[in-house]
Point group: C2
Chain length 190, copies 2
């Protein structure tokens, strides 16, 4: 998605430890027009699939998931993060290690909002090692729901999470795949 790549080149900031800061338009301040275009692009890429629900994880996935859900006309469910897996007995949970924050959380989805009739599109703003997506896939598995695909705004391709999912036969669509970043600038995968 050229509009997004241009924006990353213009406003993205590369920080120590392979961190790409895009909080001026994606995950702290949100450019709502760009978000709408991102939702439209996910729709374009997954419109031939039957989708009943969009699943994401709080917090910064929510804006992206809502932007996409408007085009698909389906509900969003966002997994809640918790420090323990025992907060809710009627919920599916999965452990998620965060690359950025170096800690482990549980993701939790109420059993009321995901079941075996669901065809799920998983959406997130970022993918590095793919831990969040893996956790959401696990949750869908527990629920018996079918995962139609995974849509990511920015994939850090060099950290391998997206390719690992693809090798497992999962349909991953990333709107920008960063292949390398550093003093030489940001390079995208073709």
């Amino acid at each position: 998605m050229e509009l997004l790549k241009d924006r990353i080149l213009r406003d993205g900031i590369v920080k120590a430890g392979n961190v790409l800061k895009v909080d001026s338009f994606l995950n702290h301040q949100i450019d709502i027009r760009l978000m709408d275009e991102i939702g439209r692009e996910f729709y374009r890429r997954f419109q031939d699939e039957r989708i009943t629900k969009i699943l994401t994880i709080e917090a910064s996935g929510i804006a992206v998931a809502c932007a996409a859900a408007r085009y698909f006309s389906v509900p969003v469910v966002f997994a809640r993060k918790a420090k323990s897996s025992t907060l809710d007995t009627n919920a599916y949970t999965a452990r998620i290690k965060s690359f950025t924050h170096k800690d482990t959380n549980w993701a939790m989805v109420s059993a009321n909002y995901l079941d075996e009739d669901d065809q799920v599109l998983i959406i997130d703003d970022f993918m590095a090692e793919g831990n969040a997506a893996q956790g959401l896939l696990e949750i869908c598995d527990y629920a018996g729901a079918t995962v139609v695909g995974v849509g990511v705004v920015i994939e850090k391709g060099f950290q391998g999470g997206g390719d690992a999912l693809r090798e497992n036969g999962i349909h991953v669509e990333s709107l920008a795949i960063v292949e390398s970043m550093g003093p030489e600038g940001i390079k995208f995968r073709d």
Copy 2:
């Protein structure tokens, strides 16, 4: 907003400790059509104000803020919650006590995304004692930004947060004000 009140009466669940659970449509699963109507209603109520930014707090405020921001054509900034106030040196922070979760968090907004030229509409999904809104007001104050008003989807009127803000001259618009809830059902303020 009748559509919202009807939905609360139909799907809201009153739980012990003055908790109103609306996670089937507002803050775990999100009804994206209803969310759009909520955004439109905030626009209707604040359209005569000059607004440059919508400020909310993660996580469940984000969907509401984005829905409103589409109508106002302004960016969203969402405050991040943190366990300590020292995570970012270039940020405005305020302490926030959560009614629902019985703990204290810090809310944090980067100084890059809020300044004295901003005319801010604060948006949140819920208001009980008003602690989140108070924290966001503090942050706007530190930034020198002007707060145009506070928009809330569901205010629990009997917990006083909204009225305390109104008494301080703040323009608060709540789309549904719950006056009482319990075995006798949910009653709204006229």
